[in-house]
Symmetry: C2
């Protein structure tokens, strides 16, 4: 059928969508979510059909932005529209829904069509749901991870050994990477670290580093930075590594499910070419992994998946029941990281965590006593010099001082109502308050803790400061502090970050469900 | 945040959707699929957020047609936009995804938000998938069915006994309702039958009846017709009975799953006020239920669900391995039904099926020998007179003759290549050929079988005729006949439609999966 195009001018979220008049669709025997092939001057695309009674008349086809650009269609162009079958991958999704296992080719077809935006939200949700309900075998997990890496870009860094780290997240204020990457690079190993921005947290590593230098690097800029300095601290979102992940997250996020945790992490590691990876697993009340047993189970899966992908993985469980260091929020955290790496101020839990993670990586790389080496590189100023080289290579000011980083000018002090000791700090509440104050968008906003778990306080003493960039948000955040009671005042400290390391140590067994 | 509205002019498929600029969204901490509350001059709605980088600028909000109409927004209006939580029902969907059972209030909340278009495709798919994966208890099925009925309109017909029938479908040419409804009405019982149009079949009952009289009746017109004649043959789509069903089908259709079969049927029966229902279950090769065991299992569920909804249900298994009668396609079938009810031509399988279904209904209503009574009402002309009354009441010509119904003028005869007996007629292939010929849109198109299973044929003898309204479609259909070989020619008949009846008869046990 030849139809005259009418342009919507609107994006359809990446997926190729066209809109048919209901009577034309009926004549062609086409229903909403069926596919049609659209041809214009030799260019073709298979599109998902939306149906309208009024916006397109009979004889018209409504064309969204993606199809307009992809097929170079102008308003009023006569384009050919014919029924087309569903993509093969839909059959494999149905197969997985019905409990069958998928082979490598089938997983690849699904991931490829996901990246090529050929699957509708309904179909993607069905796939992600089927992984949630039916689980994945290790073979499927390997196939999915490989497909996610292969359908995106790769860094292609030369060298036999590429180190990397990943934090499964959940604890606010975790600026560990900003210190670990310079330590590893200073030790002479390559560590091309890509990080994410915050989705639901107050700050991602990319948000923090952006207070020191640009993070929105091209692959070429990443390669240059690594070439010059051995490391980088770049935003992963700009470089299309394992792009299927973002499509899956779009579905997982509203449903609060996370069946793709393992492939999501490991496909990105494969794409950067990592050979040795340490996974940081914050564990405990208020973090994603509530128990050591849960962390063990996940660690085993990471290590096994790594083996199947030729990546050597070690996992480090860390204490996850309170924010890391004192600062929460992009600028406040960048400032704290810069103080710590310059040995001007050293929150003991942050330093303890950094040397454990960096130490585990150095051990993997073959060093005798990685933790001691990491500590030495930090204390000697080598790590600071390396961070400044990285800042310079990424286009920032290598002489930046902590005081140069602007933080919010609207500040409120939160005081303890009673005498006692801090017994707990609720991560989730800290996140909510920091977000109310404006994080991650308002870079200067956030929370500066004045006390941590185990610290003694007196009634009226300041336990935290809230920073915001305007009064309304400051007011919103203070109101939340009153409602949530984020800090429990009553006796004893927890500065030792290290709980256990894998594959060392005894194993706890327990089934677990990951929360987001 | 106050934003200036920019109208898309496009429907978003019923769901309330607005589009925010990516920077405004980031500032408000809002992600795609999050919700915002939109207020305009005292009118409010919670909308799902779509995000655009270019179509809306900072300070603008893109408004789809549904929101434009619902809140009476004009282009350039300043509307208030604020973050809003996800609907409560999303929590219940997550609960069901995690394997928990839902109570009545939780099911109701999900169905209500579905009907109110508050759930995104992702969320609806997650719900339907979770029913597919985790199944439903009888309590959940009852709650879901009741909620689907309660969130739509109801007929509210007076009278202690309201009869109804339903065919679970899958067999082409099934014009049984067109004869059963007049028989039941002629016996003096109320039967307010609502039917669907074809989605993937060559004709639905609404498509067939429309060749005799209007079917697009309002509730008032249905009530008038039933008042005058005891029966009606109306299209259910116009009257908003259990409207959640259409929303669920939108998700089930592309995934070829059907976890809502029972609630879908029974919620509609509840909405019309039925007290006694017969479910026709075509069974056998080429129909939805492959085995008697499968049909038994489904029949038991229907009967139990009925008990919990105060509806007395009987199920009748019928032979489903070939089309019913000879005609397939709206006009050809309407003509055949009119011939049969006028006793001018009586395909034996059609008559056998009609008197069995009508008989089962009359038995339920308390008659001594329902099947004999049904046969008498058919043969005496009472049923024909009743059908003509119904046609009249619905606004058609009560004097219509079979020859008055126009059928396609482009006709091809398909001949047997060999001598022998018809061993099988493949339902799926008949459907494909009829759809290629133009059904259900081209009402005059379709297939007229000249032979049925068990008939002897000679090489060169006509076994079927294909009807189309234009040459191109006739050509497409003929080409398909060649490819598909829909009729197997080799020895023995199957005119007896009746296999077994429930709750009578012995029980077969077997697990089954429904196909679509």
């Amino acid at each position: 059928m030849q139809l005259k195009s009418k342009l919507t001018g609107i994006e359809s979220g990446g997926v190729f969508v066209v809109m048919l008049n209901s009577q034309d669709a009926a004549e062609m025997g086409i229903h909403p979510t069926d596919r049609v092939k659209i041809s214009n001057n030799g260019r073709e695309a298979v599109c998902i059909v939306d149906i309208s009674k009024s916006w397109v008349n009979r004889g018209q086809v409504g064309v969204y932005k993606e199809v307009e650009s992809g097929l170079m269609i102008k308003a009023g162009d006569s384009v050919s529209v014919s029924a087309s079958g569903a993509p093969r991958s839909l059959e494999f999704i149905t197969k997985k829904m019905n409990g069958a296992r998928l082979n490598k080719q089938e997983m690849f077809a699904i991931v490829k069509d996901t990246v090529d935006r050929k699957l509708s939200d309904v179909e993607l949700t069905a796939f992600v749901s089927s992984l949630h309900f039916n689980g994945m075998s290790m073979d499927e997990t390997v196939a999915l991870s490989a497909a996610m890496a292969e359908t995106g870009k790769t860094l292609g860094i030369k060298g036999k050994m590429i180190l990397d780290k990943h934090n499964i997240g959940g604890v606010p204020g975790d600026k560990t990477s900003m210190l670990v990457v310079p330590i590893i690079a200073a030790a002479g190993y390559k560590i091309p670290k890509t990080s994410s921005r915050a989705i639901t947290s107050p700050a991602g590593t990319a948000d923090r580093v952006e207070c020191l230098c640009p993070v929105d690097l091209s692959i070429k800029e990443i390669l240059n930075t690594v070439e010059k300095t051995n490391g980088c601290l770049a935003w992963g979102g700009a470089v299309d590594l394992a792009p299927a992940d973002d499509m899956f997250i779009k579905v997982e996020y509203p449903l609060s499910i996370d069946p793709l945790l393992l492939p999501s992490v490991m496909s990105k590691k494969k794409a950067v070419g990592a050979t040795h990876v340490v996974i940081d697993m914050p564990t405990g009340r208020g973090s994603k992994l509530k128990t050591i047993g849960a962390a063990h189970a996940l660690a085993k899966d990471f290590i096994e998946l790594g083996k199947n992908m030729d990546i050597i993985v070690n996992c480090v469980l860390t204490f996850g029941e309170q924010p890391i260091g004192y600062a929460v929020g992009p600028a406040l955290e960048a400032r704290e990281a810069l103080y710590a790496i310059s040995n001007m101020s050293t929150p003991p839990d942050l330093v303890e965590k950094v040397v454990n993670i960096a130490g585990a990586l150095l051990d993997l790389a073959g060093e005798k006593n990685g933790k001691d080496l990491a500590y030495k590189l930090l204390k000697s100023g080598s790590a600071e010099r390396k961070l400044r080289q990285i800042i310079d290579a990424q286009g920032g000011d290598p002489k930046i001082k902590p005081g140069d980083i602007p933080v919010g000018s609207h500040v409120a002090e939160i005081r303890s109502k009673t005498n006692g000791t801090i017994w707990w700090i609720a991560n989730h509440d800290v996140v909510k308050i920091a977000r109310a104050a404006g994080t991650p968008e308002d870079k200067g906003s956030g929370i500066l803790l004045k006390k941590k778990i185990g610290d003694a306080v007196k009634g009226g003493q300041v336990i935290m400061e809230v920073y915001a960039e305007n009064d309304r948000k400051l007011h919103d955040a203070i109101a939340l502090v009153e409602t949530l009671n984020p800090v429990g005042v009553y006796a004893r400290p927890q500065d030792r970050m290290f709980i256990a390391k894998f594959p060392d140590g005894e194993e706890h067994k327990k089934f677990f469900v990951l929360e987001r």
